[in-house]
């Protein structure tokens, strides 16, 4: 009787989704938490840029060129007298916006292709995957340069170009995960209950491949930010008056000897952002990786 009561009292607490376990593990991962904090900080910077930044980032002041650090301009001004700190803060905005949308673009398209090809296999699968192989074989930067040269640099073009190169990677990983997940007997069970393909894809397979998608997109956010920086550095990014970290790096590089901070700070921020997102992505992978999961499960049952 006593044992039964004890069982009953612990029962509700034991009933939790796997995701809560993941969060508990994530909290114990120091580097991952650091990465998460950095990512959160940069995200906040990007969202609240107009509130935080002390000046208008594109306001040119001909009489304040290359001003040193002061209380009114914490990081001084650049070659056109614009407040450097404000530009850095706003730079987070565009870099981040381009990165996020590009990653969302490749995640959605790649996942969709991966799900469909992995689930249905057959001719459509072979055709689509071979097309993606061609895309994959193309050097990404070359492809980006080519497309930007044709359509001209703009934010949508930048997003498309950065996202496009990542689609084959997503599609392949999702397809592989679907191929293995659909072998599960509970998929057969769902079919025997009369579930439609759409239902199986949406309710059974998508949640199953969510882990690799999450890992890949958090890792590729770092990559998208560097890609944006790289293209902006080459002058193929957005309008040069708009502040982006890559663009600022390029604008600051001629003055590296006299005013090194103009190039160093955007570079540092790019590095920090990449480090943050990579650390977070790594932590997520460690936690969601099925082999890690087994280790933890095995530990708990013994």
């Amino acid at each position: 009787m006593k044992a039964e009561a004890a069982l009953a009292s612990t029962a509700p607490a034991r009933s939790h989704s796997p995701w809560r376990n993941y969060w508990r593990q994530f909290r114990q991962n120091g580097l991952g938490l650091c990465g998460f904090a950095i990512s959160a900080l940069i995200t906040a910077l990007a969202i609240f840029a107009p509130v935080i930044a002390p000046y208008d980032p594109i306001q040119v002041n001909a009489d304040k060129i290359f001003e040193a650090r002061s209380w009114s301009h914490w990081l001084g001004t650049d070659e056109l007298g614009r407040d450097f700190l404000s530009r850095l803060i706003h730079g987070a905005r565009i870099s981040f916006f381009v990165g996020i949308v590009a990653v969302a673009f490749k995640t959605v398209v790649g996942t969709f292709i991966g799900l469909v090809t992995g689930y249905f296999e057959g001719v459509v699968d072979s055709l689509l995957m071979r097309c993606l192989d061609v895309l994959y074989a193309f050097p990404r930067t070359l492809l980006a340069l080519l497309i930007l040269a044709v359509v001209g640099p703009s934010i949508p073009a930048l997003i498309f170009v950065i996202g496009l190169g990542g689609i084959p990677q997503f599609a392949r990983i999702v397809r592989g995960a679907v191929l293995s997940a659909k072998q599960n007997e509970y998929i057969v069970a769902a079919r025997s209950l009369g579930a439609t393909s759409t239902r199986i894809l949406w309710r059974y397979l998508l949640p199953n491949v969510l882990a690799p998608i999450l890992i890949l997109s958090s890792l590729s956010l770092a990559r998208a930010i560097t890609a944006e920086a790289g293209l902006s550095f080459l002058g193929l990014g957005v309008d040069p008056t708009l502040p982006t970290w890559g663009g600022m790096l390029r604008a600051g590089s001629p003055y590296l000897r006299l005013h090194p901070h103009l190039a160093v700070f955007p570079g540092l921020l790019i590095m920090l952002a990449v480090l943050g997102f990579n650390a977070m992505g790594d932590a997520i992978r460690d936690i969601l990786d099925p082999r890690m999961l087994n280790r933890v499960r095995g530990g708990r049952t013994t």
Partner: protein
């Protein structure tokens, strides 16, 4: 009319097919099976692993598309149904799986797993769905508070009960039990077997009970079919099979069942050789290379499954009905 009638059902899996290579043959997992199952009965299906019994079970439900043949279920030919009609027809036929760990989605709550069929066929929603799921949980011996739990919180036997509740949700008439107790402890096996029998009585269910365990099959089945290399070699009432087996393969199988009685000595028939590859099954009777009683005809022609007056079917040139006793 019988609930289920299978005529010359075949499932061949192609081997070594690719873009540039021609097919190298096929695994004949199910190779011309005829079966009838009456309403309310349990037909046991026995055979070694790899003989095609699971494939047969899944092919009957069209979870695997058959290569050829005919499946008449409740007067409809299942093979002529469109995908849409097939989904509707699935309400009447369900399956219980061997591995209760692989057959439940780890990311869904028990209530959602059991209620999935209700949702798919729009049988109940909201409160009505919850009530029905609770009723099903009680029916299989689970409790209310299991509703919101995840599968990993249950033992193997409990998980198997969840699988049974899921199958029952849509009120099926026919259930394929694909080795439902093979992965459970012996003590739990008995519980699940009893539950299945109880449910059969209460809900007038019909089972195709697939197993490699002859004792379990003897206990639960009304009739038993023995499968070897994709074919049914013998079929009879349960007690007939165990008392008066005709086919040499059946006799070898039965002699391998351990008897928990040291005083009883029994004759052990040991088969020579291994099960031949189902890609290139031997000509004639597929069992003849391992058979101690083989005759000239055995390697020439396939023996048909012939029935005696009491419904005992044997596919054998030597021991078939009207031949040697």
């Amino acid at each position: 009319m019988s609930l289920l009638e299978i005529r010359n059902l075949k499932k061949h899996f192609p081997v070594g097919e690719g873009w540039f290579s021609r097919g190298k043959g096929a695994v004949k997992a199910v190779d011309g099976v005829d079966l009838t199952i009456e309403e309310g009965e349990t037909l046991g299906l026995v055979g070694e692993s790899g003989c095609g019994k699971s494939t047969l079970g899944r092919t009957i439900l069209r979870l695997i598309e058959p290569t050829s043949g005919e499946i008449n279920f409740l007067g409809k030919n299942l093979l002529s149904l469109s995908q849409r009609d097939l989904r509707t027809a699935r309400r009447d036929m369900q399956i219980i799986f061997q591995d209760p760990y692989a057959s439940l989605n780890p990311r869904m709550r028990v209530g959602d797993i059991v209620g999935e069929g209700l949702e798919i066929h729009k049988l109940a929603k909201g409160k009505a769905k919850r009530d029905r799921v609770m009723e099903l949980l009680h029916q299989v011996g689970l409790r209310d508070d299991h509703y919101d739990r995840y599968p990993h919180e249950f033992s193997g036997g409990q998980r198997q009960r969840i699988g049974i509740a899921r199958a029952l949700a849509v009120n099926p008439k026919f259930i394929v039990c694909d080795e439902p107790v093979s992965s459970l402890d012996v003590s739990i096996q008995a519980q699940i077997i009893n539950l299945l029998q109880e449910l059969q009585e209460k809900l007038r269910l019909t089972y195709l009970f697939i197993s490699h365990d002859l004792r379990v099959v003897e206990h639960i089945s009304h009739r038993v079919a023995i499968m070897y290399l994709g074919k049914v070699v013998e079929i009879a009432k349960s007690d007939t099979i165990y008392r008066d087996a005709k086919h040499p393969y059946t006799r070898a199988l039965l002699s391998a069942v351990p008897i928990p009685d040291m005083s009883k000595k029994k004759e052990r028939v040991v088969l020579e050789g291994d099960v031949p590859s189902p890609v290139n099954p031997p000509p004639g009777c597929t069992f003849h290379p391992r058979c101690a009683y083989r005759e000239a005809a055995c390697s020439q022609t396939v023996p048909p499954l012939e029935f005696s007056a009491d419904g005992h079917g044997v596919s054998c040139h030597v021991f078939g009905p009207g031949k040697r006793p």
